[in-house]
Symmetry: C2
Subunit: 217 residues, 2 copies
DNA sequence: TCTATATTTTAGGCGAACCGAAATTTTTGA
DNA sequence: TCAAAAATTTCGGTTCGCCTAAAATATAGA
């Protein structure tokens, strides 16, 4: 059994890997809020254990076994987030922090029970895919709202969960999963967007738009 | 914030205290499955912190502050057990072990949400009282089934949760909370009991009877 | 190119909580 | 009563994961 901290390392390496490709000591250090020195040590240990390959001064890549462990945790994390929203009525922006703790202590049995109670969901409340039990992840093709052209109608597929305040704001303006919206106008000077959600028209900043992922409706 | 291990020490000191009165290093060591040497060290530390008073070579007693912390954990433990049974349909005998892990990471918010979903229960699935938020515990007056005389009709108020196998067996013969049963005969030679539950008559060993707590119906 | 800066790793140390072995204190029963 | 047994504590040592400071390596820009 991997320790709780090792699970955190593996999960975050996986996350950085899928977004940025390469995983450096610094990026991990920032994400985990642990000093680069400690991260460097742990990487060495994980390499010895065979969970990842490490080229000193270069970077890190998960092995098959490391990836499997990472996905196991990610599955638990996202199932738990779903559970918090659906059963305990937590808000969108509170669940990530709570799930950080629970993902490590959920037994396989608990995982199954929750999966069942939720009706075997395929994405979490932010639209991130829930890895299957055997370690496959459905890739959802989506584009940042910031890339969408004037006049197009889109549907919200995912919202980046890295920032609780952003999530809180998004939900307060009615920007939730599967909502349809049309892009009315794209401002050249600051890349902000005028969009229409339902009958309401509003402005969305470039930064917010970069964190909302959509498909063409 | 007390560490997870400190919470375990305090909770178990409280439990031993309520059952046996005096809490020795050995009894704690056995309950926690930690060597007497380590327990002794931790006791010294907890005494310094003011969570308990310790007379070397004698025993230990929780201070008000220590008791408060113990009850906080016990509340979370028992709420969580209830939740596992009511919402996730876990069996009677599986919940204690699961709850051991969750009690330490439940936020106050989570505690409140669960309390609400469950309708503010006053006892857990084994009949143990759930301490209130302000640290009071309702004492339930009950007697071990082994003390009940022939011919008396009683109601099950609590089952000792220390042994999962015992719980499993009890539920398999229909011995669950609030069940009515009548004591038909008490065997002198081994203290076993013949009881009637519903329309079924069966024999209960002395050991089992000592772990079932009832009130006169 | 080559030096300054940024990144990464190594070295030495720390605190929490554990252990076994040895020392101390208490209890018990002949 | 008093020695053997039981209970408790102290001592020295371990592991895990963290840290800061210093050393090593890589990268970028003049």
């Amino acid at each position: 059994m991997p320790s709780e901290q090792i699970e955190n390392y593996l999960k975050n390496i996986y996350k950085i890997q899928t977004v940025e490709g390469k995983v450096s000591t610094t990026s991990l250090s920032e994400k985990l809020q642990i000093s680069p020195a400690s991260v460097s040590e742990m990487i060495k240990k994980l390499a010895e254990e065979g969970s990842l390959t490490h080229t000193p001064y270069k970077g890190v890549e998960l092995t098959e076994s490391g990836k499997r462990m990472a996905l196991k945790i990610l599955r638990k994390h996202r199932l738990w987030e779903m559970f918090l929203v659906e059963v305990l009525h937590f808000g969108w922006e509170e669940i990530d922090e709570e799930a950080e703790k629970f993902e490590h202590i959920m037994s396989g049995k608990m995982e199954d029970k929750i999966d069942e109670v939720l009706g075997f969901p395929s994405v979490d409340p932010h639209g991130d895919p829930i890895p299957s039990k055997n370690g496959t992840v459905k890739v959802v093709r989506s584009y940042p709202l910031s890339d969408v052209k004037d006049g197009v109608i889109v549907r919200v597929l995912r919202v980046n969960d890295a920032n609780p305040e952003l999530l809180q704001y998004a939900s307060s303006i009615g920007l939730s999963l599967n909502k349809r919206l049309s892009v009315k106008q794209k401002m050249k000077f600051d890349n902000s967007l005028v969009v229409k959600i339902g009958s309401r028209e509003m402005t969305i900043s470039a930064t917010l738009a970069e964190n909302i992922f959509v498909e063409t409706a």
